[in-house]
Symmetry: C2
Subunit: 227 residues, 2 copies
DNA sequence: GCATTGATATATCGGTCTGATATATCATGT
DNA sequence: ACATGATATATCAGACCGATATATCAATGC
């Protein structure tokens, strides 16, 4: 889960731990606030397995900055300032910058294409994979969408069975189940439109006919579903 | 989290571990498939702290069945059958039946009324508390709903900031964030209607004027929200 | 000037939950 | 007779979270 997110981030740019946390929090909103107690062990794990390499970057960076692309680090400004002021001592603030390796890219693609674990944070797992869907082969992408759709269909069936059978719910519980059902239906419609637009894209492979519009948004949902 | 769910279940009836798992899975759909690796430790924890007592119930139950209320246990049928067949040996299948104590009820109310942890499984945590909302004081119930609403408002703001600022998303990521935004809006509307109907209920406390209809379903959402 | 606050940065610890696995009893179908 | 599957409990490694510790530095206030 975390490994996939980290590798996905690093596949585009190199970062240090603290920055990875921020990106994961701000970029997609799928990870509220990754704990350092899971982030740093994850980075160690990935480094040990050779998926990433971490280089100790101890300030005092020369003007030809190999500073990572992040343009807003207090440390960098401090380094510049101290150099401008004539102090030769760079900042001693240590940052370990991580870079993905070829092995890492392979691992990333494996994780991304892997069968999703069921029952454990399904929504987050799917969301994360969808956010990196551009790295998937078209056919694998379609598989991802359809597996997620199946999950939701099963959930809808379970919710309906609950509503039909039991029934000894109080009004709060009843409202909870009702709302869940509606939400699941909405999710399924969304997936239907994603799947439809994905199939359309694959049907016309060569000429990229102005299909830059947001995928699956507001297009009539696939008619089959029977909600 | 699990403790709250377990105590809530046991507050109505006594169960053994396996049955608790089933109920948690089937009843609300909030827990997909609780792992025994968390369930049994949780029960031990609760027993050690005096919130529940577990009595080893080794089959051979007399006909005046103090069998827990679950009417569908293979073991029970087996016991009956073996008795009918003249065998004095009851089933040796051991089950540990857990019963909530007064301490446990107190702990349950504390957990239920406690400030929800943020960021960690917010949806599940809220859903669980809503399912037990009947055990809350009206004012605490309103607090629960309004805290949840605040969470969602914050999420909506964050998602909009993401959509506004960044913008270097591919079509999949864009669709993901769009869909999340819609879902959050839907959740807020739902909470608005729950809050509205809760306030209405509290405004007219004495005469229970036919308010048995499902709470907050289909009623015009509170107008203020500005979605 | 200098102290407090807050952002940046890494690390570790205890505790909770998951997934896998082991072990056993019993019912049912073939 | 034998396999399959539901019932029932238990344990383990590993992932993740929340809290906490530590340190550097910027900005703010007095």
């Amino acid at each position: 889960m975390l490994d996939l997110a980290i590798l996905g981030l690093l596949s585009e740019c190199e970062f240090h731990g603290y920055e990875i946390r921020k990106r994961l929090r701000d970029e997609l909103g799928l990870f509220a606030n990754i704990s350092f107690g899971s982030l740093y062990p994850a980075l160690s794990r990935l480094e040990l397995s050779g998926a990433v390499v971490g280089t100790e970057s101890i300030g005092a960076t020369p003007a030809s900055a190999p500073i990572p692309l992040t343009g807003s680090l207090g440390g960098e400004r401090a380094a510049l300032r101290s150099r401008r002021a004539g102090t030769t001592r760079g900042t001693k603030r240590s940052r370990k910058v991580y870079r993905i390796t070829d092995t890492g890219r392979r691992v990333f693609e494996e994780l991304l294409a892997a069968e999703e674990p069921v029952g454990t944070d399904e929504a987050r797992s799917f969301g994360l994979r969808l956010a990196f869907a551009r790295h998937l082969a078209p056919q694998a992408r379609l598989g991802l969408l359809e597996r997620r759709r199946d999950q939701l269909i099963r959930r809808l069936a379970a919710d309906r069975a609950r509503a039909a059978a039991g029934g000894d719910f109080d009004s709060y519980t009843r409202s909870l189940v009702e709302h869940r059902t509606e939400t699941t239906q909405h999710d399924i419609s969304w997936l239907d439109s994603l799947i439809e637009s994905e199939k359309q894209k694959q049907a016309t492979p060569p000429t990229d006919n102005r299909s830059t519009r947001t995928v699956g948004s507001r297009s009539a949902a696939a008619k089959g579903t029977e909600l």
